[in-house]
C-alpha cells in the first residue's frame, strides 16, 4: 500500500508520516514475539507483555544471551528500561496487521458518523472535524492537525 508514502510527501512542515509511528508499532506488538538487543550487545528473546512511550518494556518467557552470544539464560519475566535498547526485531507481518487495523478503525469511525466519504482525495481533510486533532501530536505538530485518531 503506497498510502503512507503519498500522504507523507503531500503533507507539509513538521508532520510525521502517516504510516505507523515506531512507538505505535511497538504498542501493536503486544503479546507478539520479539528480539531486543541492548546497547551493550545483550539480547532478549521473548513475548512483549507491555510497553510505554519511553520504550520501557516488559517481556515474558525470555531467553537472554550475553553480548558474545555464548551464554544463555532463561528468564520468566523481565523489565527493560527503554534508554538501554539498541533495537527491536518484530514479526514481519506486524506492519500489515497494524495498517489493516488502522483502516478498520477509520472505516468504523466514518460509518459511525454517518458521513460516508469515499476516495483518497478526502483523506486527512475531514479529520479535524472529529475534534481530536492532536491525539499524539508532539509540540512540533502545527495547528493544521491531521491527527488520525487511533
Amino acid at each position: 500500500m503506497s498510502e503512507g508514502h503519498g500522504a507523507a510527501r503531500e503533507s507539509s512542515l513538521g508532520e510525521w508520516p502517516r504510516s505507523t509511528l515506531p512507538l505505535s508499532l511497538l504498542n501493536a506488538a503486544q503479546n507478539k514475539p520479539m528480539l531486543v538487543e541492548l546497547k551493550n550487545g545483550e539480547t532478549f528473546n521473548g513475548h512483549l507483555v507491555n510497553c510505554d512511550n519511553f520504550m520501557n518494556i516488559t517481556l515474558r518467557e525470555v531467553y537472554q544471551t550475553n553480548a558474545e552470544g555464548d551464554r544463555f539464560w532463561k528468564v520468566k519475566e523481565c523489565y527493560i528500561r527503554g534508554s538501554t535498547i539498541k533495537y527491536l526485531r518484530v514479526p514481519d507481518t506486524l506492519l500489515d496487521a497494524v495498517k489493516e487495523e488502522q483502516n478498520r478503525a477509520r472505516e468504523a469511525g466514518r460509518s459511525a458518523r454517518g458521513a460516508h466519504v469515499s476516495g483518497a482525495g478526502n483523506r486527512g481533510r475531514g479529520m479535524p472535524q472529529r475534534g481530536r486533532g492532536a491525539v499524539r501530536g508532539g509540540p512540533m505538530r502545527g495547528g493544521r492537525g491531521r491527527g488520525r485518531g487511533m
Binding site: S2, G4, H5, A8, R9, S11, S12, L13, G14, E15, W16, P17, S19, T20, L21, P22, L23, L25, L26, K39, N40, G41, M55, G82, S83, I85, K86, Y87, L88, R89, V90, P91, D92, L94, L95, G138, M140
Partner: protein, 136 residues
C-alpha cells in the same frame, strides 16, 4: 518549497519514507531496508531489512526482517540509489563464509585501539578514553 521545510528530523526524513535506506549503527553494524516510519527521536521502522558486512572488496548479507531502531543508536541514514547499487564493484559471498573473517577484523581493530589508547595514556599524558561508542 523544499527550502521552506525546516531542518528537523521530520523535515529531513519525510522524503526518505518508503525508500531503500542504509543505516549505520553506533556499534558499526550496517543495515539496509525500506524506511517505513520514524518519529522526532529518529526512531526508525525498517522493513525487509538485511544486514551487510564488508571485507576488502567482498560483502555478504543476511536477512533480518522488520526492525524498530532506537534513534540514539543511529550514526548515519542514507538513501540507496537503486540505479547504481548494482554497479558497485563488490562481489557478494556467502554470509557464513565472511562472518568469521569479519569477526576477526573487529577483534583486531579493537586490539589496535586498545594498544593505541594505552600508549597515549601511559607515555603521552592523554586521559583515558570512555567506553563503547567513542569512535563516532
Amino acid at each position: 518549497m523544499d527550502s521552506l521545510i525546516p531542518f528537523t528530523t521530520s523535515g529531513s526524513l519525510v522524503d526518505c519514507v518508503d525508500r531503500k535506506m542504509l543505516v549505520v549503527l553506533r556499534d558499526g553494524r550496517k543495515l539496509q531496508g525500506v524506511l517505513r516510519s520514524y518519529d522526532q527521536f529518529a526512531n526508525l521502522v525498517l522493513e525487509d531489512t538485511v544486514e551487510r558486512i564488508y571485507y576488502g572488496d567482498v560483502f555478504a548479507e543476511t536477512w533480518k526482517g522488520l526492525f524498530l531502531i532506537r534513534g540514539e543508536n543511529v550514526v548515519l541514514l542514507g538513501e540507496v540509489d537503486l540505479d547504481k547499487e548494482d554497479d558497485v564493484p563488490l562481489q557478494q559471498v556467502a554470509w557464513e563464509e565472511l562472518v568469521p573473517i569479519h569477526r576477526e577484523e573487529i577483534a583486531a581493530k579493537k586490539k589496535r585501539e586498545e594498544t593505541k589508547a594505552k600508549v597515549l595514556f601511559e607515555q603521552k599524558g592523554f586521559c583515558k578514553e570512555g567506553g563503547e561508542g567513542d569512535g563516532y
